[in-house]
């Protein structure tokens, strides 16, 4: 974790470690989990309403106040990589993004920023994906990742020593990853950890040579406060950009968690692959970033 932790963040981590801290979380009470049981590692909500599923998933983890405090600047990172419409399942569902932004503001965030370094033309991706409109409706500041906004950062990873990173994401107090589950031609799977490519500048294609190690380096560097996984519909073929509706399978699922490896393991499971077969998921597990053992995690599954 190379990101500098703010004092507030450190204090709050301590507060959460202290026994009884959860008792204060009113939103936790609302979920009906009881005061003593800790929140699940993953909350998986099944239902057709993407926005409602998102809200329930975050609530099941203890509510957005667990992750965002009053006055925070929050950076929300959806996947907006392609100039595709929502039904084509190449980008995060706009309603999921919208719900996350709204939840941040409800938790007292000062400003929520949304951006992605797209592969197709940014303006088109932002518009066709529906994410710009949805996020702006919720009050987010949707930024184009302009070249001048990237800064070379020391990643000190196994594959990446340093790289140009989008400054808006590093400067924010909180970082929330909002990926979508997709097949990926080279990596087999793209979900949470691969989504960090969208915060990189420079010549990203160079990373393909050692893509799995690079993905884990990025996950280690960015270490998000929360991941909300969009599996309302998943791209099962011709990833990562698809293009045909026949490549899309409806899954009506939104999941949330703080463990990047667990989230990607869940994504692999949704694509019917054993998580251990995705090299970067396995590597991340081995490097101790989290756990891909879904059977050993506390997974809360619920219908809307």
């Amino acid at each position: 974790m190379s990101r500098v932790r703010s004092r507030r963040e450190a204090l709050r981590t301590l507060a959460f470690a202290a026994p009884g801290a959860f008792a204060a979380g009113s939103s936790l009470l609302a979920t009906g989990l009881g005061q003593s049981s800790p929140p699940p590692d993953l909350a998986v909500i099944h239902g057709a309403d993407a926005g409602a599923a998102t809200r329930q998933a975050v609530a099941a983890l203890g509510g957005m106040r667990r992750f965002v405090s009053r006055g925070d600047v929050v950076f929300v990172k959806p996947n907006i990589g392609w100039a595709r419409v929502p039904a084509q399942a190449a980008n995060t569902h706009p309603e999921v993004v919208r719900a996350v932004v709204e939840l941040c503001y409800e938790a007292g965030a000062k400003l929520v920023k949304v951006a992605d370094h797209t592969l197709d033309l940014a303006e088109r991706c932002y518009r066709r994906s529906g994410i710009q409109a949805a996020a702006e409706r919720a009050g987010a500041s949707v930024e184009l990742a302009e070249p001048s906004r990237f800064r070379v950062m020391p990643l000190r990873g196994e594959a990446i020593a340093e790289w140009e990173v989008y400054a808006g994401a590093i400067e924010a107090d909180r970082l929330i990853n909002v990926p979508i589950v997709k097949h990926h031609s080279l990596c087999r799977l793209t979900a949470g950890m691969k989504n960090w490519f969208g915060l990189l500048g420079g010549q990203r294609d160079r990373l393909h040579d050692r893509i799995h190690a690079a993905i884990v380096d990025l996950a280690q560097f960015f270490g998000p406060d929360l991941i909300v996984l969009d599996a309302t519909r998943i791209l099962v073929r011709n990833g990562p950009q698809g293009g045909s509706l026949s490549d899309v399978r409806l899954a009506d699922t939104v999941a949330a968690g703080t463990d990047q490896v667990a989230i990607d393991a869940l994504a692999a499971d949704l694509l019917d692959m054993p998580p251990g077969e995705v090299e970067y998921v396995r590597t991340a597990d081995v490097r101790g970033l989290g756990s891909m053992r879904l059977d050993r995690l506390r997974v809360l599954r619920r219908d809307l």
Partner: protein, 501 residues
């Protein structure tokens, strides 16, 4: 308000409108603006393309009012409307305004060379009759547009960073810029050099203007032969003697400058005091016609339209087959300007002498965006057809018949998984068709240090590939990509396709 001030107001308005329309000819600013308006008003574009194609495309009928106006009032377009003319007017005025009246008068005397534009027009016309459109090389509207697109906006942006999010670059932009600068600078010492000597549109209007009912007339009884009417005569039209009707821009400056009230703008004045015809030499006209007639076979003799067609001539989607394309393209470069990825670039000689400065795709600069048909939307002459997305992508009624502009080929000596034992397949990732035109086969290789490696080696599905070029654009081997698109397989011409259907 005096008449020259009114004219000035018109000029300012039309320059402003022109610059505005040229500026919004960009994919994020286009909205519904009639960006081709001036090109459609331009009778040389309308008549030129009618000669080459025996048809009139979409908005080109707008030139008819301009023709009628010229038949009645003479070359008012040159003096009042033409934005390029107004720019020359301005620079000419700036350069002489401190000179003595006598010097100004001398700068505006008629010269024999001013008839050169008619010979150019004859040459362009003869070439057009045979089917090749070259008017765009010097047409003022086209020239102004082209210079703005390829040189002026990019230069302003390089200097200020104020215009583009992703600054475009154009091949030999500095040549376009220098030629534009040269035409402007020539006004210093030779006011309106371009309009008087080179402009083929002006020549066309000069020919039409001979029938004009109204014109400038000098009353010999009041005239003192002071020649001051020449002080600001934009067209060098001899108002001090027998007015050269074909040269007069109807700028009305002479009305202002005559202190004796000898000059008037009148309905059907005496024909004894005018020179209705341009000052042409039969021999030069024949020479012009000969040049035009020879241009056609000479330019086609090198075979770029037939068996020696260049692999780099990858035309934008919706382009007509090459001969029809060349019969329509005016080289205005509106398509270059509107292209969101900068893939469109001006040619030099890849498309032959005829195809000089026409648009082709250079996939190192950009790629053809899947959901984009803007180039055809703005093309004023239909060289690039106004196609629907369904037609481009092969959907709906065009099912499985997408437009292909070329085909991608792997260079197995440069592709990383093929040649270098290195994982890559960025090309497959970005390939936008569904199913993807690029697919991979896993291959186990024993690497140099003895470990076993499973590589995905990419291939092209000939049926799926549309030649969009994003694979070449995104290939990490930047200078000479491991996958490259060439023009073969393009659907616009039957003799360059690869597959039966």
């Amino acid at each position: 308000m005096n008449i020259t001030k009114t004219r000035l107001a018109f000029q300012v308005f039309f320059v402003g409108l022109f610059l505005f329309l040229a500026f919004v000819t960009a994919f994020d600013r286009l909205k519904g603006f009639p960006v081709s308006l001036f090109l459609e008003l331009d009778p040389l574009v309308g008549i030129g393309t009618s000669l080459t194609t025996h048809s009139l495309y979409r908005g080109l009928l707008w030139a008819l009012p301009v023709v009628l106006l010229t038949l009645v009032l003479g070359r008012v377009f040159c003096g009042w409307v033409c934005p390029f003319g107004a720019i020359h007017h301005l620079i000419g005025w700036l350069s002489v305004r401190r000179s003595s009246p006598q010097q100004q008068v001398e700068g505006n005397r008629y010269r024999r060379i001013n008839a050169f534009k008619y010979y150019l027009l004859v040459a362009f016309g003869a070439a057009a009759l045979l089917g090749t459109l070259q008017i765009g090389l010097l047409d003022p509207i086209v020239t102004f547009y082209r210079s703005l697109s390829t040189a002026v906006w990019p230069t302003v942006d390089q200097a200020t960073g104020s215009i583009f999010l992703r600054p475009p670059a154009y091949r030999l932009s500095w040549v376009f810029g220098s030629l534009f600068g040269l035409l402007l600078v020539l006004n210093v010492g030779w006011p309106r050099f371009f309009c008087r000597v080179l402009c083929p549109l002006g020549a066309l209007m000069g020919l039409l203007g001979r029938f004009a009912w109204w014109r400038i007339d000098r009353d010999p009884a009041k005239c003192t032969d002071c020649d001051l009417c020449l002080k600001a005569c934009e067209g060098a039209a001899d108002p001090q003697s027998h007015l050269r009707k074909a040269e007069c821009f109807v700028c009305m400056n002479c009305l202002n400058d005559c202190q004796y009230g000898a000059i008037s703008f009148r309905f059907l004045p005496s024909v004894t005091r005018e020179v209705a015809h341009p000052d042409l030499r039969r021999r030069h006209v024949l020479l012009g016609a000969l040049a035009g007639v020879l241009f056609y076979p000479l330019s086609r003799a090198s075979g770029e339209l037939t068996k020696n067609f260049d692999k780099a001539v990858i035309r934008p989607p919706g382009s007509l087959a090459e001969p029809e394309f060349l019969a329509r393209c005016t080289k205005c470069e509106q398509c270059l300007r509107v292209c969101p990825t900068n893939v469109l670039q001006p040619t030099l000689f890849e498309a032959g002498l005829e195809g000089f400065w026409t648009p082709v795709m250079n996939n190192r600069m950009g790629y053809c965006e899947l959901n984009c048909v803007l180039c055809g939307q703005v093309c004023p002459t239909g060289a690039i057809e106004r196609i629907s997305l369904d037609r481009k992508l092969g959907l709906g009624e065009y099912r499985d018949r997408p437009i292909k502009v070329g085909t991608a080929f792997f260079d197995r000596g440069r592709c990383l998984p093929w040649a270098m034992d290195t994982h890559c397949v960025v090309c497959e990732e970005v390939c936008p068709t569904s199913p993807k035109a690029i697919f991979t086969r896993p291959v186990e290789v024993v690497s140099r240090n003895g470990t076993t490696l499973t590589l995905k080696q990419p291939y092209v599905d000939l049926e799926r590939c549309t030649g969009c070029g994003i694979c070449e654009y995104a290939c990490p081997v930047k200078d000479l990509a491991g996958v490259r698109v060439t023009a073969i397989g393009e659907t616009r011409s039957a003799d360059r396709t690869l597959l039966l259907n």
